[in-house]
Symmetry: C2
Subunit: 394 residues, 2 copies
């Protein structure tokens, strides 16, 4: 089955916003063993939409388009698609009611521009949008199924999970792709490839994909046979042994939190250069309040000393970016917050503040569990943003 | 001038990662008054790359491709492009040296797979990659300029800013687009459109684009004439008056930080449900250490009470998610951290913890400057992720 994703919006091409929708759609489809064949980002322009549809033509079973459903003149998606496929438009009363409800909820006035969102192709199916005024639109043309969804990810996502995925599941008998992924640490991508090629020689019908990022290498085996994929995956895991992260690894944070929960251990954080990125990342996971108590963002030395409790002599002698300071930070936070475990970070994110001895990218990360402390010295390459991201781990 | 961006990588279509490169490229080009015409995301597949190049054909002056330059078998970009354009490949000695240097720096072994990254098209120009082993590749075919760049954003970005942008600037005499953007608050997108259409009637050659997000509406006027764009922008600003954010507004955080810096005011944060998102956002901006001292992540009530200093009676009587608690949090953080200004957040991000009286999405945000405190009660719609994002403001 061939699926094309179209992202419509000048703001994507101008770089005003990142396209988050492809990743959301891709992730949902992958769970079903499908990978979209292609994605195109085009402008809010009638000509560009037509050119894109000409190209996709009848080669795709499903077209999922996002964006261009807003109430303003630059939103052309529904009208252009309907014109292209020769379908008339009409004003849908249920959608008008929906728009009125949503705007009432938000205490906003209704104008004739809002009502343009109720103009939809004849015979289409409306997909409810609980998070906004623009309805999703679904229609068929010959053997092609076409979905027009709003651009904001939080409006689009529920439509994908609640409508489009179930629709595909129950209407298509497709050739599923089976994926098995493993995650290796301290083992370079190219070395893993060498090992795989030399030792287990996956046959032609198994694809192996490698992706190295932030010190973790993701290796994915896939094929149309579950048995085959599983077999080679078992071989691979035997081969790599201790270099692989846990079986159901999704990311290091989730892994860590689930271990802490399992052992009923509490956690706190003391952050300097990351200034809340670690705390924020931990609390991305819901239900973490049973183990994460909170932390101190000690961005200035004053706070490191007077609030967190790092000794003045440590700051004077070794500086804030030092093994000694990281160690004291993690000890202080665990004792202050009465937690079993703690994480501290202190470093130079740049662009300023680097010296020859302590360059931009130098970061000390300390982790404490009971009386055991591990301190890692890292030298990250890249700009401020990149250094901070490397510490956070994505 | 027509520019196409190609993003190559299974991981983008499978949703393993978001495509950050288009936004980076788009932003850099926009500064020069250029918007890419089209972006396509395709798999690491020879056939798919060929199909894409067939489609782009000679309609584009510049093709910028990212991804598929890694050292493993699934990285096919350079070879497939060279084959397509009938250009032979060779091993470039300078690139070999570069790869050796980078791997030495990272204390990693070199294998023959790494050296595949030194195989490049004959006659191409190598674009240095200070942040990784894969070189960028630039070559021409007829009137088309083709750039092949690595996928990781921190490797690609410097190549765009330091090589491709200057190249375009000095080699093309293109028709520049002039953009003027304004940001309106408390004025719905559809109402702004109505006002613009009725009151200043922009002529055909001025495009007006609207984008509403998180309570701010961005309105962008653009045309090929600076004079025209400026003229209509002045009219628009007069029309909207106080509803517009500051002239050089880029985002609320930068705006706030620059105001604080200007008046030499210090800032601290006390975060509950956002658990560091605000601190992290503030410190995305470099040079903020002169005014931001840090904060307390008081994720649990225990920390709110014993570390931050919220009265037990407030928590008992009003609960942690209340106007009273937000107020005390901001007072406590300013006093504890001795800052002129403070921000506090307490709310229910969900999915659990909501009640009829205090539903998921209920968030209190308090802002204090000297003795003046403003507390905002918000009811955000959406899931955990969305609620937290709304608080952070992007």
């Amino acid at each position: 089955m061939k699926i094309a994703v179209i992202s419509i919006g000048d703001e994507l091409l101008k770089g005003t916003i990142e396209n988050k929708n492809l990743a959301i759609i891709g992730k949902e489809l992958k769970k079903m063993g499908i990978v979209p064949s292609l994605q195109m980002t085009i402008k809010d322009s009638k000509d560009d939409i037509i050119e894109c549809l000409d190209y996709l033509n009848e080669n795709f079973d499903i077209i999922i388009s996002t964006g261009g459903l807003g109430p303003t003149d630059d939103d052309l998606t529904v009208k252009t698609f309907a014109d292209y496929y020769g379908i008339k438009l009409y004003e849908n009363r249920d959608v008008i009611k929906h728009i009125q409800n949503i705007l009432n909820q938000k205490n906003k006035p209704i104008s004739r521009y809002n009502l343009t969102q109720a103009i939809v192709p004849e015979g289409c199916t409306i997909i409810d949008n609980p998070n906004g005024t623009a309805p999703g639109v679904f229609f068929e043309y010959k053997n092609q199924k076409i979905f027009l969804l709003p651009g904001p990810p939080y409006e689009m996502q529920p439509m994908i999970s609640n409508h489009i995925i179930p629709y595909i599941k129950s209407n298509y008998d497709y050739n599923k792709t089976y994926f098995n992924s493993a995650y290796a640490v301290n083992f370079p991508e190219s070395e893993i490839q060498r090992t795989v090629t030399e030792k287990i020689k996956p046959p032609e019908n198994i694809s192996v994909a490698y992706r190295a990022y932030n010190g973790v290498c993701e290796i994915t085996f896939s094929s149309n046979s579950k048995k085959f994929t599983d077999e080679y995956f078992v071989k691979f895991k035997k081969l790599m042994g201790n270099y692989l992260l846990a079986e159901n690894y999704t990311n290091l944070v989730e892994e860590t939190i689930s271990l802490l929960k399992k052992h009923n251990l509490t956690l706190s954080t003391a952050e300097s250069c990351t200034a809340g990125m670690i705390g924020s990342k931990i609390t991305d996971i819901s239900g973490v309040s049973s183990i994460y108590k909170g932390g101190i963002i000690s961005y200035s030395n004053e706070i490191k000393e007077h609030i967190l409790g790092v000794k003045n002599s440590t700051l004077e002698k070794h500086g804030a970016v030092s093994r000694e300071c990281a160690e004291e930070m993690v000890k202080c936070i665990c004792s202050k917050f009465s937690t079993d475990a703690g994480i501290s970070v202190t470093g130079i994110a740049g662009p300023d503040g680097g010296t020859e001895e302590k360059p931009v990218g130098l970061v000390y990360i300390a982790v404490k569990l009971y009386d055991h402390i591990v301190i890692e010295k890292c030298n990250f390459i890249g700009n401020r943003n990149r250094v901070r991201q490397r510490v956070r781990g994505n």
